[in-house]
Amino acid sequence: MRLKRAYFWFLVVALGIIRCSIAIAAGRSEARTTDSTLRTSEQMAARVDDLIAQMWSADKVEPAVKSADGEFMRRVCLDLNGVIPRVGDVRAFLADDNPTKRVQLIDRLLNSPRYSTHMATTWRNRILPLGVDAERGPQAVALQKWLRARFAKNLRYDNLVGEMLLTLGGDELGPALFYQANDVSPEKLATSTAELFLGVHLHCAQCHDHPTASWTQRDFWGLAAFFARVRAPDDRNNMMRMSYRLVDTNQGDVMLPNSSTVVSPKYPDGDDATDASDRTRRLQLALWLTSPENKFFSRAAVNWAWSQLFGRGIVESLDDTEAVNNQLLNELADYFVKTDFDLRNLWRTLALTQAYQLSSGGGDATKPPQDFSRMIARPLTPEQLYDSFATLAPLNDAASQPYSPETNGVTAGLEESSLRTDFIRRMRPPPGDPAEYREGTLQALLLMNGKAVADVTASGRSSLLGALEAPFLSNADCVQSLFLAAFARQPTDDEAKTCLAVLAEAKTPTDRSKALSDILWALVNSTEFAFNQ
């Protein structure tokens, strides 16, 4: 049954209110500097470092040294922009003796169009389960564009989530894929919502209560009930179309499994919600979910952002309220709320910490570092890997050029570069610990012999190698350039010696080109290249 027209208009108005608050937030940020109780991101970063230093001294942990400039640059470029830095930028950064150059770099990356592209990619992969891209390519691209536009204008995080949860689909291409990919099923939507936006695994309570778990079956089905009245009009056309439509109805309930007990909507860890004539169930959920008082929401966002930069979350499970790192998490979550859910400011704060800028080397790397006392190396994602190849040497598809001013990795239509899509699909690792290397031999073969790496490393085709043919460049210059391009660092003396020996064997210009190609191939296929350290 269709929702009455009045409800529909209410939804429109409610969305309007949420959107207006963006403007209010912008106004508030002006006032922020005069609010003496609100820390700047520099001050908050210092506070984070204080809390971490307290953990180190309590646990008698020795932190690693500060990262070298090149190590830091490659890391922060991959984390905030999803690509390795260009060789020219590396040279400039290493030569720069301004003590604030790291801050300047962070700000430059956060204001780059690549920031929004990278964030949109990351969220698209979070929202869509593995494999949905393969089935719904154009819809997934639409979602990416929808997200990207919002990250580009730094839309408040609470509004971003609210807009997605309240979407009606139709002409607004993209966000309805969240509903579509979850089959518009209340159980699946509840599971995804809890994981993405509350950071908790509620679905374990789907079938029955667990004696040791904090979540009950009532919690799970109470959350699912909020999605019981949203429908995709049940015609085949709607299912197949790009402009997937959603409607809110005033009927529909969820029942406990194998029973006819209707479960009314209830906020997780909170009160029951009563149906109201002037607001739909999902609007009620969105308002509760994104409210500043909802600690689950801000804690989940901060813990996830932290895990993106540090390789693991501040706490392993947000269900665990006794976790020792809770103070750090709670202070950051409160700060995120007080800064009006400002995502860019959150990334800036985390990237400014000394903890983020520690080296990944030193210590016993077979054990995970305790208390973030050393950076954890993480394999590049398939997108980071492909876009980094394209940064080294433009590949044959302009659509995926990470730095091209026309595209910045964004295509005009809903098609993506098929080379890139195919590469990503074939490289997507199984779910698991982000610090583990989870690929197989077929992926190694794809990298050793496949088209993407061949295009980057083939003499005569690779623009990077082409640039090294210049007559005034010595062999040592070339080796240095290749290391700066691939690893954002100078070769060690030992490495340079090995590579120069290879070049010295080349008797003809053709042999020399081949030798340079071989060196680049070895660097691109190295363990160091495959990881963000």
């Binding site: 389960p129 593995l130 393969a134 995804s192 790397a365 690929e439 077929l442 190694a444 073969l445 990881f531």
Partner: protein, 445 residues
């Protein structure tokens, strides 16, 4: 805890751990890992999936209706097993009747190629929250053991019909198949593959060097790579780094002449090659035998380029040609596996996305039909020499022992020694069974 989150089971953990230790001093772990694998009763099981894209006509192959108006042009003839009768165009296969179990009572609900392909290959209709792996990826993962060869090799898969149905889904790309494509000149449009004068060659993707790199240069590259890798890894003892390095070394092993020889069909006699049929399917069956001999647990061979079996028009001429190709490849494969005593460890499933209408349409064709169709099991773990289930005299409904696709996939899994209720865990911690259905015990040995 981490393993639960990661969708990784115990054997996998052991294997990853083993790989992570290569090149370090903790070799004492390796013997116990080897012992673990040796005790695994599934070690030597193989599966060959014969995928018939387009939907073959059961009425013209394995469930004929002689004497009925729906019966069509072909004769039904005896096989080596009294009472079990197939089409006259499958004479060679008929000799292996005692190894074959025909399921004649399969019912599904998807009559569209893309949706049906997804349903049959994953056990689930498309577009759900979970990206279900194809049954081939899921079973290959369970049957995996240490070898330089890929775990799952597929010949000419018609992936465009529904990419997700051919992929490992939530299991991740490392469980994707190694794809082999035919080369040596595609047959002219409309030419029957059997008419090819020379057998096609088959090539595995990315196993060959890029065109501008020769073997010497590849060797130089690997030597340089190895030197630089050692310098980097020296003093860094991270398991993830070791895993990466070990995988590359394993991939480099794949590129050695020995392994490439496994894919090189030119070492077989021309006579044998043409006995299999010179097309991609026949040569794919020959490759399947070579790979099974070398321990590869899962091989898939597709017949019917694109939607070859989609005979809406001109059904009888086309099905006759396809039957001949099928008969040559499949029967020769059965014979060669039997000679090598490998058939008892190799389970074969012949299946498609759906069957075809028993009724003949105005274009002498048959249309999509998921309500009552057939699939065929053979070899290891299967009680051959029988037809299971029964359709009505006109072929339009299942009259006895109806089964669903979950039952068929659970039967395959059981025949291979993999419990169908074995669970893999998705990123959001949902346990997913290999197959949801009841194994057909009557056809299991």
């Amino acid at each position: 805890m981490a393993s639960h989150h990661g969708g990784i089971d115990r054997r996998e953990l052991l294997r990853n751990f083993g790989l992570g230790l290569l090149g370090t001093s903790c070799a004492s772990w390796l013997p116990s890992l080897a012992a673990e694998i040796a005790q695994d009763p599934r070690r030597r099981r193989h599966c060959i999936l014969l995928w018939m894209s387009g939907g073959p006509s059961q009425t013209d192959l394995f469930d004929m209706k002689p004497g009925h108006a729906n019966g069509g042009e072909f004769k039904e003839v005896a096989t080596s097993v009294p009472g079990l009768r197939f089409s006259e165009h499958l004479p060679k296969l008929g000799k292996f009747g005692d190894q074959l179990a025909v399921v004649r009572s399969l019912t599904t609900k998807e009559g569209d190629h893309a949706r049906g392909t997804h349903l049959v290959r994953t056990g689930h209709p498309p577009a759900g929250e979970v990206a279900y792996p194809s049954i081939a990826c899921a079973l290959a993962k369970e049957l995996e053991y240490e070898s330089v060869l890929p775990n799952y090799v597929t010949v000419a898969p018609p992936r465009d019909i529904n990419p997700a149905a051919f992929e490992p889904g939530f299991l991740g790309a490392r469980y994707a198949p190694a794809i082999v494509a035919g080369s040596g000149g595609p047959p002219a449009p409309g030419a029957a593959p059997m008419a090819l004068a020379k057998p096609v060659d088959l090539k595995m993707a990315d196993l060959e060097l890029p065109p501008d790199v020769n073997a010497d240069e590849a060797a130089r590259r690997l030597a340089l790579w190895n030197t630089l890798e050692r310098k980097f890894l020296d003093g860094r003892h991270a398991n993830a780094f070791e895993t990466h390095n070990a995988l590359y070394r394993k991939a480099a092993d794949l590129m050695t002449p020995d392994v490439r020889k496994a894919f090189d069909l030119t070492t077989e006699s021309d006579k044998l090659r043409s006995q299999y049929g010179n097309g991609v399917f026949g040569q794919g069956c020959l490759l399947a035998r070579r790979l099974v001999e070398r321990g590869v647990p899962f091989v898939e061979v597709a017949l019917g380029d694109g939607l070859g079996w989609d005979t809406h028009q001109d059904n009888f001429r086309r099905v006759k040609k396809l039957s001949e190709e099928l008969d040559a490849g499949w029967a020769t494969l059965m014979g060669e596996l039997q000679e090598r005593d490998l058939l008892k460890d190799t389970t074969i499933l012949w299946i498609s996305e759906f069957g075809r209408t028993p009724q003949i349409n105005g274009n002498a064709g048959r249309d999509h039909f998921p309500a009552a169709w057939s699939c065929v099991f053979a070899g290891g773990g299967i009680k051959g020499g029988q037809a299971y289930g029964k359709t009505s005299a006109d072929g339009t409904t299942v009259e006895e022992k109806q089964v669903g696709i979950g039952d068929v996939l659970a039967t395959l899994s059981t025949a291979l020694g993999v419990p169908p209720d074995h669970e893999n865990v998705t990123a959001s911690n949902r346990p997913i069974k290999i197959a949801e259905g009841t194994p057909i015990h009557d056809i299991l040995a």
